[in-house]
Amino acid sequence: MKPDDTLAGEMQRRGVSRRAFLKYGSYIASLMALPPSAVEALAEGLAAARRQSVIWLSFQECTGCTESLTRSYSPTLENLIFDFISLDYHETLMAVSGEAAEEARRAAMAANKGKYIVVVDGSVPMKDGGVYATIGGKTNHQILEDTVKDAFAVVAVGTCAAFGGLPKANPNPTGAVAISTLVAGKPMINISGCPPIPEAMTGALAYILSFGKLPELDHLSRPKAFFGETIHDRCYRRPYYERGEFANAFDDAGARQGHCLFKVGCKGPVTYNSCATTKWNGGVSFPIQSGHGCLGCSEPEFWDQGGFYRPLSTPLGAMGPALAGAALAGAALGVGAALSARSHQKHYLASLDKEKEKE
């Protein structure tokens, strides 16, 4: 008899019942705020799925995204996703290196043509022919094009891959671009964040595995389940904002009483992510709960928003010189206008006098 190669079959061989899928289905449904009726569909879909080939490409990045995804210490619910995927290429995690590693990638691509998922972290440098990041003599751009060609879908994890991130920040010396600008015609998901919430990565992958399609995405191709609402809208400190109670500094009475961090630069009102609900490190906390404002790390160009501690309602740059210059110019124009009026008046009065003299 042919061995059952579904995920359910694999789990059964390890002595794990289908309860595991029901439990995982509940977990994913809860994460993605899917209706309870979706739990069984998720569980059945996952149980019937086969291990998903995943090729993970790392470009201009810091490996923080990989750290975020793998930061779990025991085989539990959170990292069960690693039992459901076959991570066929990942430079940081794979044992082999050099040509053997590249061969593993090519083999996985050939064996799963049209079915594998490409996960990318990091942005791609395009300036000067892309020479600023090469692997095995190939530029990031070449590797991406080559790998994505036969992929089923592309998942850009982290803000660098999704929107360019730190490498693309002013003055963008390497001409870094987001993955979406180089991948045309492929189903594409952005899981932004610096790093992204691991549950957002696993949730999106589990969804694709269960339903064979991408979850509902927002206008920046991010799963709405995780990026549908702003940090501010789900923040437990929101009532303080509404009541007008703010921390004015990180060590004042307001800060100690847990008041809203808007005045110390929190970007929660314009940042879409689920930190306030899913939280970090297994639901322990998130930046605002730990006393620091949101940096807006899941949004495009978040490095170039004028500073992390500059309140959202203030100008991006220094206004002093522009305003002082404008005031001086205005005063000069005003004085000029008044002088012209005075001289005009003088001439007019003189002409009146002349007319009188004539009379």
């Binding site: 509940s26 619910l77 322990v284």
Partner: protein, 141 residues
């Protein structure tokens, strides 16, 4: 509680969350009693603090059944003092991963799946074949 934990303890105002949850549970329980329709209320995604959770569980109390499931981590299931209202709590990496109120005759996670049962039957038959002596009446001494 350690000092480090105290620093992250949220001190948010109570927005009547627990009361609203209990009202919702009552409505669903009434529906279940009348029509047999089962439902699940997911507490994930709600801005619930430990205080809210404790208040909810204080109100719901503990009933006759409690069970612990060991599958990809721990899961605790117990019937509340209100028959038909169950609490299902899946643990992940040390923390609560999913927290549910299930309104049903029995939570689904407790029930064995028939496909697992089919495999189990095969396994049991194999085990029996390997060790037929197990079913013989023991000799009296």
């Amino acid at each position: 509680m350690s000092a480090a934990c105290a620093a992250t303890e949220t001190n948010e105002p109570d927005a009547g969350l627990v009361g609203a949850l209990v009202s919702e549970t009552l409505a669903r329980l009434t529906l279940f009693a009348e029509t047999g329709e089962t439902t699940t209320i997911d507490l994930g995604g709600l801005p619930m603090s430990n205080r809210h959770r404790a208040a909810l569980d204080d109100f719901l109390g503990r009933g006759e059944v409690s069970a612990s499931i060991d599958v990809i981590g721990r899961t605790e299931v117990w019937e509340t003092q209100f028959s038909g209202v169950w609490r299902v709590r899946h643990f992940g990496d040390g923390a609560i991963a999913t927290d549910l109120i299930e309104i049903a005759a029995c939570p689904k996670i407790l029930c064995a799946d028939r496909r697992d049962a089919r495999l189990a039957a095969r396994g049991m038959a194999e085990a029996l074949e390997l060790n037929p002596g197990i079913v013989e009446t023991p000799h009296e001494t």
